[in-house]
Symmetry: C2
Subunit: 226 residues, 2 copies
């Protein structure tokens, strides 16, 4: 379902070129649970932003469900993001003046759902935030903000979940609860999951690992580099 | 050097009371390396903000180097923060439009140092960011932003380092490099270190662990709860 072909991403800074990704090719099958690991600064978030239709590569092709994403206009990209993809951002990207329940209810507006608040509350209770519904981001702990971002990514029932270091601010128990949710949705609803993580014990729970190093991808069979 | 006595922190939200800390008493000796661990939402960052003179308790006393911090005015608090404390924030708190080298050079302005840029560059090179000096936060990876925050906390050569989950966005190698810096400064310069972490392998490197649970503190001897 995710087809990244020879993708390069270059940032031009004055006369210096930063090659964030260099000829990356990787694939994720529908219903797979894949972990992306690699050193800080190696290109993982850059790759996730391209997969999530938030950024375009400098070179190469990205096909999502067989559609060449590079051919789409901004409206079509927004529609794909809203209908197919749930994205947990590395820095959460919560709205500063919006309470937790509304952060999670907002993505449901596009679908015209009637029971937005109920679904938001259910999603927040699932990540242990049933008593923090009205808190603003500034009134939440780091791990609570992270869990609001997770609830928001899942509330639209996407077919693909992209999670960029979703347990970095969570203790091992809260992290395990979040992984249990991801794995259950993967098993029971065929949710395709791509999770960036620095935690080897989290990566070990995926079907397969993709390693990123210095802007290049190294696929593995299972968890052993080929 | 850090004396927290029966500290309580309550947030009033309408007619609901959130008790972030409840009668917390804990002490850190000069030159100690202490880890604070506990579940997401348990009160760790709240405690760190009080220790860092960024927040005042609702009840109780905080003495820093024997001085009752509750008796100080805003100017005196700012002076203490700038002279004695280096703070690595859980969400980094970088300035949006300022390049990395300047983020790190800024705290040196108060001390009137002449070689601010040199010291900033040295601090950034020490955390592996020698090739990212001119990048804005939006042009840095999550772990690179975290390392800028670490460099900034250390550049003023504080006597106390407060680090709130400083390796959460770092791979194990980068995390180990950061811990090596902290331990070296602790050993060679007597830097007092208080580090909040969700990573048991990071906590194991401290002299002692303080556990926070549901707003209460549980001191340990070494790493075993008393
Ligand atoms: N807008 C930009 N301009 C210039 N360079 C950038 C920009 N965005 C990212 N980079 C650089 O691209 C590289 C890859 O960044 P990316 O955020 O993908 O890393 P990452 O693997 O997610 O790292 P981390 O684990 O620290 O989050 C980094 O070295 C970063 O400095
Ligand atoms: N301004 C505020 N108003 C109301 N409640 C708050 C406020 N700030 C924090 N809280 C609450 O206080 C509790 C403690 O927050 P704190 O940030 O100290 O947790 P933490 O231990 O650092 O968690 P994490 O590991 O997730 O970062 C949380 O339950 C949080 O919702
Ligand atoms: Mg990243
Ligand atoms: Mg915290």
């Amino acid at each position: 379902v995710i087809d990244i072909e020879n993708v390069t991403k270059v940032y031009q800074m004055g006369d210096v070129e930063v090659r964030a990704l260099q000829g990356v090719t990787c694939h994720v099958e529908r219903g797979e649970f894949v972990a992306i690991i690699g050193p800080s600064g190696s290109g993982k978030s850059t790759l996730m932003n391209i997969i999530g239709c938030l950024d375009q590569p400098t070179e190469g092709t990205y096909r999502l469900d067989g559609i060449d994403v590079g051919e789409l206009d901004d409206d079509q990209l927004a529609e794909i993001r809203n209908q197919k993809i749930g994205f947990v951002f590395q820095s959460f990207n919560l709205l500063r003046r919006v309470p937790a329940w509304k952060q999670v209810a907002l993505p449901l507006i596009y679908s015209g759902a009637e029971d937005r608040r109920e679904r938001a509350v259910t999603a927040l209770e699932a990540v242990g935030l049933g008593e923090r519904l009205n808190h603003l981001p500034s009134e939440l702990s780091g791990g609570q903000q992270q869990r609001v971002a997770i609830a928001r990514a899942l509330v639209t029932e996407p077919s693909i979940l992209l999670a960029d270091e979703p347990t970095g601010n969570l203790d091992s128990k809260s992290g395990a609860e979040v992984m249990a949710i991801f794995k259950r949705l993967n098993r029971e609803r065929g949710l395709t999951v791509v999770i960036v993580t620095h935690d080897a014990s989290i990566a070990a729970q995926a079907d397969r690992t993709i390693r990123i190093f210095d802007g290049k991808a190294y696929e593995t069979n299972g968890h052993t580099p080929l």
